[in-house]
């Protein structure tokens, strides 16, 4: 399963980004292979509709689960329709690496 984690930077020790549509980066984690890849969010600075465009990207990437701090109504609408699971984590300055460790241990 492909899982995406919103991130403020492009490294494993970057802090996870509380925003989804305007997250700086996305970490794409492939559960089966264990491979991670960081993508820059091209829509982070868009005037409007960042949530919509980012969700579109998730569908294109074939992601099945997205982990972030919150999801706006427009993002939620699209993610839900494509059966992408949303996970909201409380804010406690976790790094992307720590989140992936939790996912591995589950």
């Amino acid at each position: 399963m492909k899982i995406v984690i919103s991130s403020e930077g492009a490294e494993m020790n970057s802090v996870f980004d509380l925003r989804f549509g305007r997250a700086a980066y996305f970490c794409v984690y492939n559960e089966e292979s264990g491979i991670t890849e960081f993508l820059k969010n091209e829509h982070a600075d868009d005037q409007g509709g960042a949530g919509t465009k980012t969700s579109e990207k998730m569908v294109e990437l074939g992601v099945q689960k997205v982990i972030s701090g919150d999801f706006g109504p427009k993002a939620k609408d699209i993610l839900e329709r494509f059966n992408i699971q949303m996970v909201i984590l409380p804010d406690n300055n976790r790094t992307v690496g720590e989140i992936i460790e939790t996912l591995k241990g589950k």
Partner: protein, 289 residues
């Protein structure tokens, strides 16, 4: 001769609505009964609260034209996505998904030009309502009410402004707060602008921004100082240095604030207010004729 007066302020809560509502009443009393009030603060229309006896006369829905994608014709080429500057179109070729998000659409029509396959159609999407009220005096109130979540304030304001009664001699436009687009839209159509401010540092700072804007759009304006007496003299100093006319001062009164709070400003008019607004009306009459 039709004249339009906009009542604006940079900062919220300076008394814009109070002045608008009172002016309506006193223009009716001392100038002409062919006066109409337009509440252009479509996000938070509040003028009606002060007319408990208002009766709704008519009501119409305002629509914007929003495109819709005909999936039987769409080739998922994403040309429309490229044209849309507002990120309102989602097209995912791999799963044959194409849709327009109406709440992001600005109705610019660019996607209709982008689509070479005739897959873009337009339909009506509600952005708000315009309601007209009989207030017992004058020609009444027209207010725009934006749907929550819509970003089409400007379009709705334009429609509200067009709705005034053709017999009207004076149109009063209560503008939204701030200095952004909706204020420009309201002021752009006015012959004269009254800026309502309060003599506090915040009030002055926001007034300066608004004046900058008025000068950029080349509109004549004058300032009303509300809650006069609560601040220091820096407001006067600034206005004098910039050679800006103070067309009126409303003294601060806690009692008045209490009347405002409960929506009873027109029931408790005393002699001072009557003469204040009479002077203001006469002043405006002279200016605009």
């Amino acid at each position: 001769m039709l004249k339009k007066i906009a009542i604006a302020s940079g900062k919220g809560g300076t008394g814009k609505t109070t002045v608008s509502v009172n002016l309506y009443y006193f223009i009716h009393k001392y100038w002409t009964d062919k006066v109409q009030l337009l509440d252009c603060d479509v996000e938070e229309p509040n003028d009606l609260i002060f007319f408990p006896e208002a009766r709704e006369k008519s009501f119409n829905v305002v629509n914007q034209q929003v495109p819709k994608i005909d999936n039987s014709k769409c080739t998922y080429c994403r040309d429309c996505v490229e044209y849309c500057e507002f990120n309102a179109i989602v097209v995912i070729p791999t799963v044959k998904f194409a849709e327009v998000n109406a709440s992001l659409c600005h109705s610019c029509g660019a996607c209709l030009h982008a689509c070479k396959h005739g897959a873009m159609l337009e339909y009506d999407h509600k952005i708000g309502e315009i309601k007209k009220f009989d207030l017992g005096i004058g020609l009444g109130l027209i207010q725009g009410e934006l749907e929550i979540g819509s970003s089409m304030q400007t379009m709705l304001i334009k429609d509200v402004i067009k709705e005034y009664n053709p017999e009207t001699e004076i149109v009063l436009m209560d503008a939204p707060p701030g200095t952004s687009c909706p204020v420009v839209t309201t002021s752009a159509d006015a012959d004269f602008i009254l800026l309502v401010t309060e003599p506090t540092p915040f009030g002055l700072h926001d007034l300066q921004l608004t004046i900058e804007l008025m000068r950029e759009i080349h509109k004549p304006f004058a300032v009303i100082i509300n809650k006069d007496g609560i601040g220091d003299g820096s407001m006067e100093k600034y206005l004098e240095a910039e050679d800006i006319e103070i067309i009126g001062r409303i003294a601060f009164s806690k009692e008045y604030a209490a009347n405002y709070a409960t929506g009873k400003i027109l029931n408790n008019l005393d002699e001072t207010q009557d003469s204040f607004y009479r002077n203001l009306v006469m002043n405006l009459k002279e200016k605009l004729n």
